[in-house]
Symmetry: C2
Subunit: 520 residues, 2 copies
């Protein structure tokens, strides 16, 4: 027996050594990416303008070093050798899952040739540069050749992953593993069928008055309030910080350093507040990942859709709820006595949930927002399929806006030029995750409420720990250990489903807009 | 003739290609170091405490990558092959000098084994950690074994560069190429002989009253004033920024991004102001380097001593002069009406130039400061030579302080434990550059005045461009192209010399302290 144990130990020892080596290699890649993220954060927050040229070069170099390491053949050999070992481990163990994710990342990475990465990234930079000029100039025509090349590159990218059922599938899978054009289209069809009557019913009512949000609000006090709200819902400033940038974002340098940024608008009380809470949701996810997964491919949020679900859950489901403001509104009134003392909670709550058909995705309310997304997804798919030519995009955009939102953009600036995504990246997987996030946010929240019905009584008292703990336990801590579908099933006991989201919207907006047919 | 030209071109073409390759390789090393500098700056300025552990690992990795590249054998082969080519170039051309400096850097780097670098850096980190505890606890004894190991490592380091005339020479040459223990000792002997009667004469006079600097000064206004002064002397905020840190420093990420930090003390008006101007001097040097040298080994300041000369020139020679305050004092009084309205310029100027024998180097005035440095240099040399045992350092420190400064530290905290240098690095080249900087500052300033006598009339009008331009033209723009001794000779027409510094001190302090024997 003793000799058998020794033999077993000898046979297994190398696998454990190799696993340690694989982890060290992957951690080095993660550290290179984290270093690059620091440079990128600094570029967006504090870098003087003179630093731009060298910074671009330095970031490109760190990207290249990380990429080279991520496709190194000996990483592949380590993963191959470790695969039988991983099959001998408990299927839900961290190590088994780490080897699975490392294999998936490696196999994806090696399919994309280095020269493609360089071409695509150079084109994205040039296209973005041109877009920053073309959008304010309302000049879609000059973007057409750029977007045509982006479309070519997006198709070329898909080819690396052939065969596929649909040409958008590789792009969708990059953002949200396990989803594809068919499943997203099915979900979005169902969503549109559910949303249309709701939007119609709301828009038949008198428009909500949100003028109480449009007064002049001193920026430092806005920022201080947003910071306090972020801290109270559970964003840990010992392991993070809040700065100002043009576009709000969340970035992770390590488990102990997950930063967020926001922006402040003198005449829009919602901007800083909801941006901050949105980014706090992303950050709480990253801060809540099991420290044992740090520096491994499991040590970050699992997909764009699940990540977005966490930002939307806190921004919309929690922070636009009546209960949330029962606690926070007196504090907000104290911070802005002159501006809000005479504004009842009711009025404020209706203002932050005002629904209106509008032109700009990022300004859209919680309900119509999704119509902006389904529209973009549909156009992406048609362009990839070759059913819509880039030169016809502006016209197709106007038609779709009229059909889905009953508004027509007066120009392309606030039409098909409004979002940076297509003009700085690829076509095919740029937008759908936002709505996946909305859908999952409602499903996760419903599951948390089912497990802890006391949550809805706690929020009006400013107590967020029960909800935060449930999210940490069921979602955050797992990082990328479980693929999105498995994570959803484990956390909610069911596959991803539209019903909780439609029910959430119907109940909330039925009550807010007093829509009798919707309330029950 | 045509075929000869072609042949020449063919023979020379590979050298130019190889030079381009060498430059690209060196730029990648510079970019890795710059990326690491961003991480280090962030660590000192904005990083939340939770980020510390991963940040240390990420920085160590970037250091290792830069070091591996800097000792790669093919860099050595490129330099070897290019050396005959460099000899065919004009001796003062950028390319000839670049190849020379690349060779010097490479030959130094390959002499130090990687395992030594790892051991020394691990020991430095451990020793620093212990020092942060031991200094406030006044516990020199616990530092003895750390310092003994530091001394062993410092000796081991020197051995890599054997043969040498003196065991401190390799350390001194690292900081200040072309200097050695003999030349520093000679300079410092001369300096002490010149300083002693000056310090005695000053200290025989009534002590200057600096209570006007010790009132309560609001931090934001201090910072605003320091920022304005930095901008007016010529620090370019389009290519830099000012932040707060525990210890002020200057760091360079690229030609367009050279940042400084400062600290602010409620009860010491000089702290933020002179720290900021000191770091601005370092930064203006880096900002003034010819952009053509960026990313090459010529693209930064040439030596510790020359760098320090630029910070000291602005901090002391300019910003503690009477003329400087003729312009700035009314502005300072306007910023601090309650605190300074009744304080005459005369009183303020004497306060910022108060000379007194004291315990702490970093608090010392311009005159006695150098005695703190010569004392440390002497102790370093004696330890390296084996004439002073580490365990006897505290006692030797007290004896030297009594002999040179006529004060005796009441404890080791404010004695031999006061400076971080020996406890976080090597022994042998830690301090001398500060005084080299003082000496060169006076010599450079005298040369600038000789070329542009109008400078002394411009400063009281707040006009710094003539001086700044002279420094840029004669020092800054060259980066590391000329070794320090050659740079000094080119800029001042003479070898480095003590006389301008002693003359500067005698004139300034003779006038301030009304010392008749010194004035003429």
């Amino acid at each position: 027996m003793a000799s058998e144990t020794a033999a077993t130990s000898q046979r297994r020892r190398p696998a454990e050594d190799m696993l340690a080596e694989l982890k060290a290699r992957l951690r080095e890649i993660a550290d290179l990416r984290a270093a690059n993220a620091v440079l990128s954060w600094d570029q967006a927050t504090f870098m003087p303008e003179g630093g731009a040229a060298a910074r671009g070069r330095q970031m490109a170099m760190l990207s290249r070093l990380a990429h080279e390491r991520s496709v190194a053949p000996d990483i592949g050999r380590l993963i191959d050798t470790l695969t039988p070992y991983s099959e001998s481990l408990p299927p839900a163990s961290d190590d088994a899952r780490l080897i699975r994710v490392a294999r998936r990342d490696f196999e994806k990475a090696i399919k994309v040739p280095a020269d493609y990465v360089a071409r695509a990234s150079a084109h994205a930079a040039a296209s973005y540069q041109e877009w920053t000029r073309a959008r304010p100039a309302n000049d879609f025509k000059s973007m057409v050749p750029y977007l045509e090349k982006t479309l070519d590159l997006s198709r070329e990218y898909s080819q690396f992953f052939a065969p596929y059922a649909h040409i958008a599938d590789p792009h969708i899978d990059d953002a949200d593993e396990g989803m594809n054009a068919a499943s997203v289209s099915k979900l979005f069809g169902e969503l549109k069928r559910g949303l249309r009557p709701l939007v119609d019913a709301i828009c038949d009512q008198p428009e909500a008055d949100d003028s109480c949000l449009r007064r002049e609000f001193a920026k430092p006090r806005q920022l201080e309030f947003a910071r306090r709200a972020a801290e109270e819902i559970g964003y840990d400033f010992q392991r993070g910080r809040l700065d100002l940038t043009h576009h709000p974002f969340c970035t992770r340098f390590s488990a102990g350093d997950v930063r967020i940024t926001t922006r402040v608008n003198d005449h829009d009380l919602g901007d800083a507040l909801f941006s901050t809470l949105h980014e706090s949701g992303h950050a709480m996810y990253e801060q809540g990942i099991d420290p044992a997964l740090a520096g491994s491919p499991l040590g970050h949020g699992v997909s764009a859709g699940v990540h977005e679900s966490q930002s939307r859950l806190w921004e919309n489901v929690v922070a636009r709820s009546r209960g949330f403001w029962e606690y926070f509104y007196p504090l907000l009134q104290r911070a802005f006595v002159d501006e809000l003392a005479g504004v009842p909670l009711e009025t404020f709550h209706r203002a932050i949930n005002k629904v209106a058909r509008s032109l700009i995705r990022t300004d859209a309310d919680e309900v119509t927002y999704n119509l902006h997304i389904t529209l973009r997804f549909d156009l992406e798919v048609r362009m990839l399929e070759g059913r819509l030519a880039v030169k016809d995009l502006a016209e197709a955009w106007r038609a779709a806006m009229q059909a889905d939102l009953r508004v027509t953009p007066p120009d392309d600036r606030d039409g098909c030029l409004q979002d940076v995504h297509w003009y700085s990246g690829a076509i095919g997987g740029a937008f759908h995750s936002y709505t996946i996030g909305n859908i999952l946010a409602a499903q996760f929240y419903a599951a948390a409420l089912k497990a802890h019905p006391e949550i809805s009584g706690e929020i009006p008292r400013g107590a967020f720990a029960t909800l935060h703990d449930w999210l940490r336990e069921n979602i955050y801590r797992h990082g990328s250990k479980f693929p999105p579908n498995e994570l959803v099933a484990r956390a909610t006991g069911a596959a991803m489903s539209m019903e909780p989201y439609l029910q959430y919207l119907r109940e909330k907006y039925g009550a807010l807009y007093k829509l009798p047919a919707m309330v029950n």
